[in-house]
Symmetry: D3
Subunit: 238 residues, 6 copies
């Protein structure tokens, strides 16, 4: 039995609120249960130095947690003077995941910067971030299309992410913090609307996992991501 009384294949309640803050070209509050992340997309009419003059754009991401988004207060990274290895891993993952569905040539020489800031954490912040960031990215791109700055949509497919894991011998979908702290395997899966994989990051926190467990986890993830993409579509249709 899961602490939250969910079924093994059951997502937490997912909510995607667009236009959450006022200034960004795309601004989404994404909630996976008690995990809440503000995802903004900022359009900049320039590219990083390594892309200057190459006729293509860029999508990148930064991630942060408010110090008291967690159960006990974390030190503020700005005050410590550096981002942790975990933060860097997550923001690199978000950026790669989004770029996988963007035609950077078609985006033109501009950059879209995604900021994912966790205001409340209860497990799965990186998968919620990817799922919400995609919607913010769509809003920013739609703004460019509406303004005539883009002729064709550079977004080729949906992208969403979910965690799966082995919790007390059971494969489960969308682990919350209590499960995540006590599971044997934790896997984050990023997939496209077409059902193909963009990232798989599985870690045995306790017991190593078998090939059969691997397969069961991917089955759960595929079904969960299909639901998330459906929720993204609803949010974007509103």
């Amino acid at each position: 039995m899961r602490p939250s009384h969910r079924q093994p294949s059951q997502l937490r309640p997912v909510r995607i609120t667009r236009h959450y803050t006022r200034h960004a070209e795309g601004s989404v509050l994404v909630e996976f249960g008690d995990t809440k992340v503000i995802c903004t997309a900022s359009v900049e009419e320039s590219v990083p130095p390594f892309l200057k003059g190459k006729g293509q754009g860029w999508v990148t991401a930064e991630y942060g947690m408010l110090p008291r988004s967690t159960n006990s207060r974390m030190r503020r990274e700005a005050a410590q003077g550096k981002q942790s290895g975990r933060t860097q891993e997550i923001q690199r993952l978000i950026g790669r995941s989004l770029r996988a569905v963007v035609d950077l040539q078609r985006l033109g020489e501009r950059q879209i910067v995604i900021d994912c800031d966790v205001i409340q954490a209860d497990g799965g912040t990186r998968t919620a971030s990817i799922t919400g960031a995609f919607v913010a990215l769509c809003d920013a791109v739609n703004g460019l299309l509406a303004a005539g700055k883009l002729n064709a949509n550079p977004i080729r497919d949906h992208i969403a992410a979910i965690s799966v894991g082995v919790y007390r011998g059971q494969t489960v979908l969308d682990l919350d913090y209590v499960e995540d702290s006590d599971c044997d395997t934790d896997m984050n899966v990023v997939m496209t609307g077409a059902g193909r994989f963009v990232e798989i990051q599985g870690t045995a926190e306790g017991e190593a996992f078998s090939r059969d467990e691997m397969n069961a986890l991917l089955d759960l993830a595929e079904a969960g991501i299909a639901q998330l993409i459906s929720l993204q579509k609803q949010a974007l249709a509103d």
Copy 2:
């Protein structure tokens, strides 16, 4: 005429939402119009090294802005590896202001850390932070009282803050971003419930100001802070 069509002595709509996030001992969303700040109070059962064994507590604050809380994206301080001078000034101001109404002896050897994170900025983030942080601090202290960890309330009075300024020759209360960017004088005033001053920080951005303007600004601030303290009391009474 003010861009927002407010009267010179009129605050923006102010909202104070308690229990905004789940983990912190005090958690408040404070809104001054379009300025929105999450203020959390975290209780730590230890004190900074310079206070070890002195039989008193400490209240300190940290401040941050989400990169896209502003009209154009700011660089993330955690990624830059340091907090700006402005950030440090503001968080020092918040900490000093709150300590002015706390009996640190009575607090005992524990620390309350206030985090003020701006999720949307439209001027006046530091004054909104102080005003909201006080309510979060009250919630944290009330929790300690309810848990029997404190015998007597160390909070001696209310504290709130507002900005005043000279905008196009007119003294005005609670400047929003448009006014702030184009004013001659900007002054932040922090006052207690008893109507005494804790901090006054006035800067002539354009023309230097006269003693008469100074007096008119303080009149506005006194009236505005009285309203804010009344709103704090309502919020705490809910």
Copy 3:
């Protein structure tokens, strides 16, 4: 009674020594009693990136204290790898204060960098810095005028600063370290030769202060700054 036996409205002996070191375009040793600060003005024929091509100049300041300028040795900021929040606050204040009396358009596309380095501290280092820096700035500008690099003087008025405070219930002018460490209110006031305010930064270190005390403090500051400006004029006339 003040520890120094001064009258409440009495400045410490103030000395302004021009041409103190050899290399800088302006170099002043300013002494407020035992507080001694070397203020240099360096002319650079370029502007910071955010002003490139805008046809205006810039004046900025940096502040530092020798590690043993104080009673007990402070850690060297260069060795610690960062400037403290206090240092940044002070150098921002010095820069803003000087810019308030400079016509940046008339200065042309060049920058004047003011360095204020405290070699001995006894309270009031920031107000001594502003008062001395103005004289160094004048010397640097006069050099540019003499060299024909400027057609008209961009300095529009004098600027000077003093601290005032409430010490043991008495409002006093120009606090030294002993008073500063034990006062209820400490206020730094920056004014022009025309008697207008550029900065007011008042902090209740102990008891919050009343509107009447505020007025008494400003009266003291106005009289003190008038004396400082007179001393600046004498120094520049020599």
Copy 4:
């Protein structure tokens, strides 16, 4: 056809040289073709602060590349003042992988620090690092056993790692730099001697990958890791 003319399921020549340098308790040069990494294991009779007094040990890893281990010179991380996100990701992966096969209770309150320093890079540095680091770890642990500092071997199983990928439509084992720079999918797999998974990190650099490709990649990895573990056993038997 692979640029190196290898079969799709063929490893590069792998060499594991023990006792490569003199000072470390374990010191291994591991070579996967032209990729060469020095892996040392250092025993420290203390644990990190978060484990003090908990009666268990710790295994951690750091990773670095010599600036000219690569085709064009990289900036030295020590000179830049920080480790890149990539470096941190890799060293966290190495540490987690090794801990997965170590009984930390049995290790006692001591730490083994693994340093993996790439002296020549040609793709697959992280998988070579894990594979070589395991042997260095064994040598360090065997030294502790021989010295009577450990009663029982805390190492529970072998661990090794290999990369697999989709290169020009073909699933291949152990990508070298030329393949890695031009592949659609790159996956690093870490497995135990018992054939269970400890880490799977797959990234679609170009086209997203299907479930079938995923399965083919894992088949290749399982076979490759079995060979690596056999090579580790030979090296340790010498």
Copy 5:
């Protein structure tokens, strides 16, 4: 002919002013011509961690230059966030030189920190620093003796330093900035009162130097340092 019209073996006018600032246990302004350095000695009743409980003391040094001590303004190291390699070399040299004449056992478990801050630079700042720092160190140690905190003087001998060089084919003593910028060889020599060497650091900036030149340079240095030690003795006798 030297630009300063000095003889090859002639020092610049050297002045040693004790009790230059008020707070430090030793405070000296040392002047070698236009080179002016404030040297303070601060006594701390603790030792660095690596010496805790070893029954001995420590002497260490830090060095800095005011940004406009030089002909063109240097960036402030505190603002840059690190000390340059040159700064670190010099402060390590000063510390080693002083420790060479101090009996650290006899000093007891306390540390004396020397700060050498250049307020005006004209070549030879490191040798002036060592020469002046020794006098500040003596004053601090004499204070400890007078206060009964030391039973016996831990200072075993004088120490002083001078630069010598090959300038336009001529070996010269005590190079000023103009000579230093244009010399072939620059050598800093640190010697004891007994005429023995503590440090020799010679660098061929242009032409490499011969063994004969080396000997001529050491002859000059020996004579120069004898004069400096005599001046130290006079200053300490005042």
Copy 6:
């Protein structure tokens, strides 16, 4: 008697292995007994900003030690976020030494970056680095000559370095770690093929040294460096 049973004037076995790694334009493993350093030379077709457009090239060096190159593990400088003062001193010394024999005009507007990375340390890493770096530099320059990018060889002479010291009252050549840790004087000498001095850095770690000892040390160094230069020539002739 030396711990290694060497004669006072005897070098450790010195080996210079060219083409040690694959990517760099020059790559040398230099061994002085158990001290082993990888020296690479990287050609970059640009110069540092301070040399832009001046028609000359630059040679610079960086130095590092693998964390476990030493007897007890050192902290990794990249993880600490800065290079130690010792590291900076050494890399500045290596760069200066090499530039002393390079005609920078003749090198053209390009930079050669030398990386010296110690993989095993047993004393004398800086002198081994200089001696090996020179050979790597020759290989890089010879590559430029062979490719027609240089018309004439900018290398004017050989350069090599050795340490000498006073160990238990005896002057000795090429100190190993055991001697270095327990000697009174340690001196590093850098000389050209023509037998002239480029750098002399002598430090009295214990007793200060006399002029006679100085002379004896330089005699030893001259003879040792002549042998090293002969070994460089053999290596380059292979």
